[in-house]
């Protein structure tokens, strides 16, 4: 297993977590070669201004709290922030609205926003019969309503990754349907291999990761950027 991945998984386990927080998840993705937005993490209560130097707006602000798995569902995300002042007032707003839900922010993740593109979902699961599996779908109604998802048993080959994309009913959206630009298919294939290929995240994690959800992976003509990442760890029964 990649050293950084092993360390992150161990640290999470030792602190009794069953999921990784988003900054940790993204560090793992970055370590295995998947593009993530440039970002900073500031602890709650710290001054944001100095930390933001070097980040190129527009920015996204996300709450980091162990208790929160779906940040947008609890209103823990603000997008399209243009500068430091925007970020500081957004932090104030979110702190208040989250407090109303009894959620305490541990830290804030501030990221550059990915270039516009098609929202793709890449995931990993542990099948009870076949072990690690990787999936891909196109975000929004395609995944959620039409269940237009392709699965493969890991480790996948490059050919499997391409077949998965071809199998999607919405594949034409990737090739530039309805006048939009075709997206970088190679970049998606690369992400699928990093997650589900030989020596990829799922194959090298000794089944410690029970679920990976990169949603969305925003794919443009140039790149595929993992904008959000959720890692669920396998329940071991033993509490740290």
């Amino acid at each position: 297993m990649h050293e950084q991945v092993a360390l992150a998984l161990r640290a999470a386990r030792e602190s009794g977590q069953h999921a990784l927080d988003e900054p940790t998840g993204k560090k793992i993705l970055h370590a295995v070669g998947i593009c993530v937005p440039r970002s900073v993490v500031i602890e709650a209560g710290m001054d944001a201004h100095a930390a933001l130097v070097g980040l190129k707006p527009p920015l996204a602000l996300k709450v980091v709290a162990t208790s929160v798995i779906h940040k947008s569902e609890v209103g823990g995300v603000k997008l399209n922030l243009r500068n430091g002042a925007d970020v500081i007032s957004a932090i104030a707003d979110l702190t208040q609205s989250l407090q109303a839900r009894d959620i305490k922010a541990e830290a804030w993740l501030i990221e550059e926003m990915a270039p516009q593109g098609v929202e793709v979902v890449v995931g990993g699961t542990l099948d009870p019969e076949f072990g690690p599996m990787v999936m891909v779908g196109i975000g929004g109604v395609f995944v959620e309503v039409l269940k237009d998802i392709a699965f493969r048993i890991c480790p996948i080959t490059e050919r499997d990754a391409r077949d998965m994309l071809d199998e999607l009913k919405g594949a034409s959206l990737l090739h530039g349907a309805r006048g939009s630009e075709p997206v970088n298919i190679e970049a998606i294939v690369e992400v699928l291999l990093c997650v589900g290929g030989d020596g990829g995240l799922l194959m090298s994690s000794n089944d410690e990761i029970s679920e990976i959800d990169i949603n969305p992976l925003i794919v443009s003509r140039q790149s595929a950027v993992a904008v959000d990442a959720r890692f669920i760890l396998k329940e071991t029964g033993a509490k740290a």
Binding site: D127, P128, E129, F130, M133, F151, R152, I153, D163, E167
Partner: protein
């Protein structure tokens, strides 16, 4: 020991012990002995009985331990709770033991007993098949577990999780023209699983095609690796039971199958070039296709349909379209050749070619051969499907039109350099006389390597399994 050597005692046992045959009534064990004898098994049959000196006229032994020499295969049909001790009694003596009894992992409280059964097999140095299954069929070894199985051996090897469905596969399969190299029912597959048997069948020179009926697997990783390694070098067809959530519940209580994701089985099929089918008939039709036809180097995706019946041609075209085939258009030269045959009004020489029975009888049915020749020469298709409405054809009693058509197809195939697949659909009305003719024609065609189907939709399904194997191999 190689895989082949390891499994020889299972398919060609020299000594078979039967545990669970009665000295006074006719139990499963007795029927097994009778079936073996009827089937012409020539090895030793050794009944095991706690008290009787003889069972079915054969000398009985008290225990497996008392049997002189080795036992290649033990047929065990006793109550579940005593099965582990039966296996222990055969320590260092029994190579394969198949436990037919149910009441193990497929029941709510049978899991511990199943673990004990596996432990007993390991202690005894015996490979366990089952529990909760019916037996092994090996025509070359003259081993069977049911009545009316053919002694003629073939090239299709089957691993079947269900015992009863195993009988269906043999009996309905042989009526359809399948000939088997062997079939093993594996039930709960507590020890010997599908992966190992597939590994054996991949190596076994008599097996050319493999069929799997599975409800689940406890060795998914191994199965995936074996199939992936095989790279469809022998075609393998999968019938997966329990692919719906309700079906999965049924499978859990049938063979103790795990609740896995059905997406995983679909992925397995795509990643290994193994056609996944939904019904027993699709399974058998796919196996028959692969028994008869050798996969081409590229995917056979263009088809020509030729037969009598306008409506059937239209429905058949729909079925082939749905199954992913192109009903290819003829080039102008081929069209001219077909038109020059001066078929009567009502015939259509575009694809699908629809020629009324009355026209087919012209010239003693030789017109069929000219049509088939023209199609082969055109090179527009990799598959020719000839379909015959037998009710109409058999009405022309003075000429053996059906025989002529089959002969024509076989003659054209001899000289066809394009290697076009030829398949036959014999559409019957179920009338006894029609069925009798159909049976005879079917055997003849299949022996000549022409698969025969009941309807065009079945042909489309069977041929699409072949196409999947071809397409997968073409991309390796």
């Amino acid at each position: 020991m190689t895989n082949l050597e390891q499994f020889t005692p299972l398919f060609h046992p020299r000594t078979i012990a039967v545990v669970g045959a009665s000295a006074t009534t006719v139990s499963g064990g007795n029927r097994f002995i009778r079936n073996l004898r009827d089937f012409g098994y020539t090895g030793h049959i050794v009944p095991i009985h706690p008290t009787a000196a003889e069972v079915e006229g054969l000398k009985a032994y008290r225990s497996l331990a008392d049997v002189p020499g080795e036992v290649d295969y033990a047929y065990v049909a006793v109550s579940a709770c005593v099965a582990p001790d039966v296996l222990r009694s055969g320590r260092d003596k029994v190579k394969f033991a198949q436990v037919m009894s149910s009441g193990f992992g497929e029941t709510e409280d049978g899991a511990a007993l199943e673990s004990d059964l596996v432990a007993a097999a390991r202690e005894a140095g015996t490979r366990l098949i089952g529990p909760n299954c019916l037996g092994v069929y090996s025509p070359a070894g003259r081993v069977t577990f049911t009545e009316k199985t053919l002694a003629e051996s073939g090239t299709v090897g089957i691993v079947c999780q269900s015992g009863g469905l195993g009988i269906d596969i043999i009996r309905r399969g042989q009526s359809k023209g399948l000939r088997f190299s062997g079939l093993v029912t594996i039930g709960n597959a507590a020890d010997l699983g599908a992966a190992e048997l597939v590994e054996f069948m991949l190596e076994d020179p008599t097996t050319k095609v493999i069929g799997l009926y599975l409800e689940g697997t406890r060795e998914g990783r191994r199965l995936f690796e074996v199939l992936r390694q095989a790279n469809a070098r022998k075609p393998i067809v999968l019938l997966k039971g329990g692919r719906t959530s309700q079906g999965q519940r049924a499978a859990a209580s049938h063979t103790g199958a795990l609740a896995g994701s059905q997406r995983a089985w679909e992925a397995l099929s795509r990643q290994t070039g193994m056609p996944l089918v939904d019904t027993l008939d699709e399974f058998l039709d796919s196996l028959l296709t692969l028994q008869c036809l050798t996969p081409r180097a590229t995917a056979s995706s263009r088809a020509v349909l030729f037969g009598n019946g306008g409506g059937t041609s239209v429905l058949g075209t729909d079925a082939f379209d749905r199954a992913g085939f192109v009903i290819a258009a003829f080039d102008s030269h081929t069209l001219a050749t077909l038109k020059a045959l001066s078929l009567p009004a009502g015939a259509s020489v575009a694809n699908p070619i629809d020629v009324p029975a009355g026209a087919l009888q012209q010239d003693d049915g030789r017109v069929a051969e000219r049509i088939i020749s023209a199609v082969a020469a055109s090179g527009v298709a990799e598959v020719l499907v000839i379909h015959v409405n037998m009710t109409v054809i058999l009405g022309f009693r003075h000429v053996d039109m059906l025989g002529n058509i089959i002969n024509a197809a076989l003659r054209v195939r001899e000289t066809d350099l394009t290697g076009m697949h030829i398949a036959l659909v014999l559409r019957s009305d179920g009338d006894a006389e029609t069925e009798e003719r159909k049976r005879n024609c079917r055997i003849r065609a299949i022996e000549s390597g022409v698969p025969v189907y009941d309807e065009l939709a079945q042909a489309a399904k069977g041929l699409s399994s072949l196409r999947m194997v071809e397409a997968f191999r073409a991309r390796i």
